[in-house]
Symmetry: C2
């Protein structure tokens, strides 16, 4: 599959296809045309065909898409056929919320360690994992082959922690701290800036 | 200001300008050129000039931008000079995390009510607000002039609750439920689909 140069705009849409196809499969739908899928998802059929053509195009003229096949293929493209090992850094409310979200595990994202700088929180158990102190982080990442770090700490300490993560050869950071992390290009960062999302809603509310 | 037809791509970038300008103001920087701002933000100077020109262009040739003015103007554009009244629906881990996030209040987003369907959670206090049962939601929205509803409930109940919110004349929904809400166009929806963000990170990790 020639999927090296796919734009992030297409990639952003893949999880939504994945979600709809999963629901269709659960409902027992075995095949669907791009037209039917477009009505369901409120996007154009040509958009759907274009997007899915990036990955070889799983549809057949006159038949449509095989729902289970396409679901599995998109899952593979998204890396959901592999297991990922995560640490969560910052066991405050948001960190705890993420640790308690069972769906991540179902998708292959396993939270193996939780870390916090606050001694009052260290030792607390969140589902199966006890919160560890920050000075155990580097050893833990090395000995558990962690590939994703989730940052749910205040912006004041996020940059320093990110630098440590780079030293530890972390490959990807899911960043909830409200700051741009100065990491090398080979470290993947996905930002979730909640207050920026709320500001966008506020803008649209004002222009309504 | 002619800001009716600004693309969502520009709007998405505004909160980031707002953040950087706020930090510069806090550091006592009074003016900055588009070139300096571009180095700081790792975007091109022409992108910055183009984006800010949508709002009348606050810069002056040879002077640059007045940091405090531009910060205040972008804040106004984002509607942060107004107070917003919110309810959070779903007092699970994520709902609690959002209710505990003090920064929202500082930006004018006031959480006045928290609702949950689980009788075991009703009555629990989160900061200053007690969790109310769902059957109080409609009256509460009407009598408190709520404009934004935050949905932190499972997807199974999100569509039904969204329909109730539309009946209550809610103007905007900040949706964390992993489902597309079927609401009329005049209701603004901003989705935060955390698992989709994690899938995107997983994709990029695989293509690394």
């Amino acid at each position: 599959m020639d999927n090296i140069n796919i734009s992030q705009a297409v990639i952003k849409r893949l999880p939504r296809y994945y979600r709809y196809l999963g629901e269709l499969a659960d409902e027992g739908v075995s095949r669907i045309s791009s037209r039917e899928l477009s009505q369901l998802m409120h996007v154009t059929a040509s958009q759907i065909r274009q997007d899915l053509n990036h990955f070889g195009g799983f549809g057949q003229q006159g038949y449509g898409y095989n729902v289970r096949n396409l679901y599995a293929e998109i899952g593979k493209i998204l890396g959901l056929d592999k297991n990922h090992k995560l640490v969560v850094i910052g066991a405050g409310h948001l960190g705890q919320a993420l640790c308690n979200y069972e769906n991540f595990e179902r998708r292959g994202f396993h939270i193996l360690g939780i870390f916090d700088a606050d001694p009052a929180i260290v030792g607390m158990k969140i589902r199966k994992v006890s919160v560890s102190p920050m000075d155990k982080l580097e050893d833990f990442i090395a000995s558990n082959d962690i590939d994703i770090a989730v940052l749910t700490i205040p912006k004041s300490s996020a940059v320093e922690v990110a630098e440590t993560l780079v030293k530890c050869n972390i490959k990807a950071i899911w960043n909830f701290a409200h700051v741009d992390l100065p990491v090398p290009d080979y470290v993947m960062v996905e930002n979730v800036h909640l207050s920026e999302s709320l500001m966008q809603l506020s803008y649209n509310l004002g222009r309504r």
